[in-house]
């Protein structure tokens, strides 16, 4: 569990009695964000008709997120494209940077994912009320439900709506943490079983690393697409 510990880097910064020191978590946030900006800068620098490899990858990310938004939330979600793109890239690059040995996984901390999820939850709710006013509450009352079941269904809908930030944040946090813990456990087996028995957990480790890279991408995708779905509920009010 040592890989998840947060420790201070540099001097202590205290504002109004709250410790806001620069930590290794902050460092890896900054590293991930810098990699994203550098990558996107290099990917859009040359305005070539036939793109270079880096430009092609950047444009693929753009097209991927654009398609994801238009598929799930429709054309009304266009103004939120930069936010969802940033969110996807941030989560993806934090996950991927976390896959490097000796690095720190920002998204394996519940507080980080919870803040992102809460922000999305609050923002989506505010957007819903701005777009539809008090009618937005009809999201809790699905149409076509028998009158007897309606109170129960409404309560379930409210609970499911309120649990969105929790499920969104815990999904990402738990996946990242579980994956890294598993890698750590198998790594420990390799050491304890030594040269004779260590090969089996080592091969597992290799396979798990591949799986974790897949999970890192998949969780970023899931995080972004769930944001799109919540946004779709707020914008289009389907029920």
């Amino acid at each position: 569990m040592q890989q998840f510990t947060v420790h201070k880097i540099g001097p202590e910064i205290k504002i109004a009695g709250i410790d806001l020191s620069f930590t290794n978590a902050s460092l890896f946030m900054v590293i991930s964000a810098s990699i994203i900006i550098l990558f996107l800068y290099l990917g859009s620098k040359n305005k070539r008709i036939i793109p270079s490899k880096l430009q092609l990858i950047a444009e693929m990310f753009y097209a991927f997120v654009a398609k994801m938004i238009s598929d799930t939330a429709g054309s009304k979600a266009k103004p939120y494209f930069p936010f969802i793109f940033s969110l996807f890239m941030f989560v993806l690059f934090c996950n991927m940077v976390g896959m490097l040995p000796y690095s720190f996984t920002v998204t394996s901390h519940i507080i980080v994912t919870l803040i992102m999820a809460l922000f999305i939850f609050v923002a989506v709710t505010v957007i819903g009320f701005i777009k539809h006013g008090i009618k937005y509450l009809s999201i809790f009352v699905p149409s076509g439900v028998p009158a007897v079941l309606l109170p129960l269904i409404t309560i379930i809908e409210i609970i499911s709506y309120l649990s969105r930030p929790v499920s969104l944040s815990v999904r990402l946090f738990a996946n990242m943490m579980a994956g890294h813990t598993m890698l750590k456990v198998f790594g420990g087996f390799v050491v304890s079983l030594g040269v004779l028995g260590g090969w089996l957990p080592l091969s597992f480790s290799v396979a798990l690393t591949g799986l974790e890279i897949l999970v890192a991408f998949l969780q970023a995708y899931v995080f972004a697409i769930l944001t799109c779905i919540y946004l779709n509920d707020a914008l289009n009010l389907h029920h």
Binding site: M1, F4, T5, V6, K8, I18, D19, L20, S21, F22, T23, A25, S26, M29, V30, A33, I36, I37, L40, Y41, G43, S44, K47, I49, P51, Q55, A58, E59, Y62, A63, F81, P82, F83, F85, S86, M89, F90, V106, S108, H109, I110, I111, V112, I115, M116, V166, S167, V170, R171, F173, A174, N175, M177, A178
Partner: protein
């Protein structure tokens, strides 16, 4: 299932904060929560602003440029194709009319030539006929003349012959009458 398990652990651990930190989940140690939240918001805000203000417009611009360029090229290609087809049609029409012209010119010139040849031939024929008749007349004249002179010659020859044979001079007029009689008898042979 996994996420629900962790949710359970997380909720349980929040209740027993100290226990959680000691149990080895640094995520649940609140010492640096404020710091992480602060840096997350700061870094993400900067990332969001730089992406939405600088990176995405550039990428979008690139993509739009490429799309419009491709569209333009395709349009141009279509236009050029149409132009080519038009030119080919024009060319074929020109070729067709030229062919017609050629046959027409060929026909006309042939006609003119034929006419020329015919008229030349006619005039030649006439001339030749004229020449021939003239020549025939001349021949006839010459023949007549020659007959007269033959008569004269034969008169003088016969008078000389008779004189030398008989020694007498015969009447010139009787000789002439005899020669004329003989020549009249034979003139049909020569004329």
């Amino acid at each position: 299932m996994k996420s629900f398990l962790f949710l359970f652990i997380a909720l349980k651990a929040i209740d027993f904060d100290l226990y959680a930190a000691e149990a080895g989940m640094p995520q649940l140690d609140p010492t640096y929560w404020a710091s992480q939240a602060f840096w997350l918001i700061l870094v993400f805000t900067i990332l969001y602003i730089s992406i939405s203000k600088f990176c995405l417009p550039k990428i979008k611009n690139n993509l739009d440029n490429r799309e419009s360029k491709i569209k333009e090229d395709l349009d141009n290609a279509n236009k050029f194709k149409e132009q080519t087809e038009e030119k080919i049609k024009e060319y074929e029409a020109i070729l067709e009319s030229a062919k017609k012209e050629v046959t027409k010119i060929h026909f006309e010139s042939k006609k003119i030539l034929d006419k020329n040849i015919q008229s030349k031939k006619n005039s030649m024929d006439k001339e030749i006929e004229k020449e021939i008749s003239k020549a025939q007349k001349e021949i006839l004249e010459i023949k007549k003349n020659s007959i007269l002179s033959i008569q004269k010659i034969s008169e003088s020859i016969s008078s000389t012959l008779i004189e030398s044979i008989s020694g007498d001079k015969l009447n010139e007029s009787s000789i002439r009458a005899t020669v004329e009689e003989v020549s009249k008898k034979n003139i049909g042979k020569y004329l």
